[in-house]
């Protein structure tokens, strides 16, 4: 839990510091005529101050949640969404949708193959009808009417 609290302060600290440096190079202007960098500088310095204070004194550790073996499932889930995005224009949305739903239900949720396939195909058909037929969205699809 401590590590997480530190992480939650260190990352914003780093980002804030970099953003502050970049803000200075944008040009601060003067108080009477603020340049593009003045406001980002104020904001990033606030970020730095708050994260530094959290780093030094994290306070009561009640809000963090520990990472667990399930976190790996979350990482896989995020990766599957990236794959969905990258492949949807090449393979078409029908194939990717069925694959995604089967992976999430059978792989992550441990549902039966039968239920997973049934829901995947039904959801694919329903979203086809809703988005492509009814709303006329230009989703890359294989089946055409």
């Amino acid at each position: 839990m401590r590590t997480q609290a530190r992480l939650g302060a260190l990352v914003p600290l780093g980002i804030g510091a970099l953003a502050a440096l970049a803000a200075v190079s944008m040009g601060l202007g003067s108080p009477a005529d603020p340049g593009p960098g003045l406001w980002p500088l104020i904001v990033s310095l606030t970020m730095v101050t708050l994260s530094a204070s959290l780093l030094l004194n994290p306070g009561a550790d009640t809000e963090q949640e520990p990472f667990s073996r399930q976190t790996a499932v979350v990482a896989l889930g995020a990766l599957s969404l990236v794959a969905y995005t990258l492949l949807i224009e090449r393979v078409g949305f029908e194939v990717m949708t069925v694959l995604l739903l089967v992976l999430w239900m059978r792989g992550f949720g441990r549902d039966s193959w039968r239920l997973s396939l049934a829901v995947a195909v039904a959801a694919c058909a329903a979203s086809y009808l809703l988005f492509i037929v009814a709303l006329g969205v230009s989703l890359p699809h294989l089946v055409a009417f």
Binding site: P36, V43, E63, Q64, L81, E89, D111, S127
Partner: protein, 529 residues
């Protein structure tokens, strides 16, 4: 009373058949997501934003608003029957509501909650109808310094009043402000933090941010708990309170309505906090406080009236000042912008059909809710048995396709996934995404008006204090920056103090503990398993 004519014209908008339908769909969807733990109204509205692109502005907002106040009804059902609050705003309802259900009074608890919600909600809308034009008229005279102070106050209040740690909320808020600066400088046009990318030149899109942090973030978070089975199906019985029970809770409903209305208007207030405060108020004003926690019907009626009233009155700052009061209203702000309507004092004149259409739709929506909620309770309980392992992939699918429909852009889809991971990690490390989204929405306004004010004042910061309204607002900023941290420190000291806070113990002045202290009943809050 010349505002009454446009207010009545608004009903013409509501009674158009398709708008009645959207209102019905909205409240039903809202009840549904209210029942489902995990998926909140902010996430649902964010996910549905692309769908509303194709609708008329008034229809879109009527639909989305219905989801928001409908969710307050739905959350009650699971709180009472399963002690599993579907929404944060119904957490306190679980305390006495579940006790009532255990002793066979589930129907009474749900009935009084529905009645309390209806009364609270309706009074809230009447208040909204009367107050909104007044506030909007008053706000027309606001200049950049007033708006800068108001936006600052809004961000500060949502950070101080939300339930989490103050510094973490403020940090999340400042990240939101920084993200808002990505793209062109609003006044000079030079590129900031774009890393040479064309995609970032126009800044981050709010819809993408909200869908990522709230939508995908929530779903990824729920993946961790995917393999838990469904809860057992409870029995409801007759969903109607007796006359005696209604008489017993009528003052609780009245008090809850007042608390909810006032706290709903405050930035950072909203449904969750008002339900908690209403519970504290009931317990403290009761002659028999020992009944609370053992199935006191006032402990259900008060908070339920409060959260519905607050859901309604939190529209006031959004529709009249253009300042969203909480995270859900921030998403609603984005929805209005998408529909081509800029929320603010000019909205009532420029888009009366949206302004009054939305407000008037709430009267109808509340009627739908009271009529629907009782017969549908049984159905909603069965919805709970839909497993998370089916629900999560379906939601993620709708979100991903939804993002694609906005601009047919793969960059948007990737951005949503990345922001979803960020949202998930923020939850893990204890940074609340709500203040980030709210600050992001207000960021542009705050920066632009701050810089305009500095030019007006010729670089003299004290100019803010020379104008009565901005000076008053900044006085509130000081109150919230100093008083609320002190109060929360005092609350912390009441609980067994961790060793590293002992040094601050001597320096803390003794504050009278007010009944309206946020998070008062937190020590008896019961979390879902």
């Amino acid at each position: 009373m010349d505002f009454l004519t446009p207010a009545l014209d608004g009903f013409g908008v509501v009674f158009e058949p398709q708008n009645l339908l959207y209102c019905l769909i909205g409240v039903t969807l809202g009840m549904l997501v209210g029942v489902l733990p995990g998926l909140g109204p902010a996430a649902t509205i964010a996910i549905l934003l692309p769908v509303t692109y194709t609708l008329e502005p008034a229809s879109a907002i009527i639909l989305l608003a219905g989801i928001f106040y409908g969710a307050q009804y739905g959350g009650t059902v699971t709180s009472v029957l399963l002690r599993l609050p579907g929404e944060a705003s119904t957490v306190v309802t679980a305390i006495d509501g579940y006790e009532m259900a255990r002793t066979g009074r589930a129907g009474s608890a749900l009935g009084i909650a529905a009645i309390g919600s209806f009364i609270g909600g309706t009074v809230g809308i009447v208040g909204l109808t009367v107050a909104a034009p007044l506030v909007a008229g008053w706000a027309l005279a606001f200049g950049p310094p007033e708006y800068a102070a108001l936006a600052l106050l809004g961000i500060l209040m949502i950070s101080t009043l939300s339930t989490g740690s103050l510094r973490r909320s403020l940090l999340a808020g400042s990240i939101g402000l920084l993200l808002a600066t990505v793209g062109r400088d609003p006044l000079l046009g030079s590129a900031r933090y774009t890393f040479g990318s064309d995609q970032l030149a126009d800044g981050l899109d709010f819809v993408i941010l909200a869908m990522g942090l709230f939508g995908i973030g929530e779903i990824l978070h729920s993946l961790e708990r995917l393999r838990q089975g469904a809860p057992p199906e409870p029995r409801v019985g007759r969903a109607r309170p007796s006359r005696a029970e209604f008489l017993q809770s009528r003052w609780a409903i009245a008090r809850g309505t007042v608390v909810g209305f006032l706290l709903g208007i405050l930035p950072g207030g909203g449904a969750t906090m008002s339900s908690m405060v209403a519970y504290t108020v009931e317990k403290r004003s009761s002659r028999t406080p020992e009944r609370f926690g053992k199935g006191a019907i006032e402990g259900v009626a008060g908070p339920e009236a409060a959260n519905n009233t607050a859901a309604t009155s939190s529209f006031i700052p959004l529709l009249t000042l253009g300042i969203p009061a909480n995270a859900t209203m921030a998403v609603m702000f984005g929805a209005l912008l998408l529909a081509g309507v800029t929320p603010g004092p000019q909205m009532i004149d420029e888009h009366p059909e949206v302004f009054w259409g939305v407000i008037d739709s709430m009267y109808i929506g509340n009627l739908f809710l009271i009529i629907l909620s009782m017969p549908l309770i049984g159905l909603f309980v069965r919805v709970l048995r839909v497993r998370a392992s089916v629900l999560a992939p379906l939601t993620v699918l709708i979100t991903m396709i939804g993002v694609y429909t906005i601009r047919s852009s793969m960059f948007d889809m990737l951005a949503v996934v990345v922001l979803g991971v960020v949202g998930y990690l923020m939850k893990k490390v204890g940074l609340p995404p709500g203040p980030l989204v709210l600050a992001f929405v207000l960021g542009n306004l705050l920066e632009t008006d701050f810089r305009r004010s500095m030019r007006m004042f010729d670089g003299d910061v004290t100019g803010f204090l020379g104008r009565p309204v901005s000076a008053t607002l900044l006085a509130f900023v000081v109150v919230f920056a100093v008083a609320v941290p002190l109060l929360s420190l005092r609350k912390k000291l009441r609980q067994p103090a961790p060793p590293d806070t002992t040094t601050t113990l001597e320096r803390t002045p003794d504050h009278p503990r007010t009944a309206a202290e946020p998070g008062g009943p937190s020590e008896e809050r019961q979390h879902p398993g």
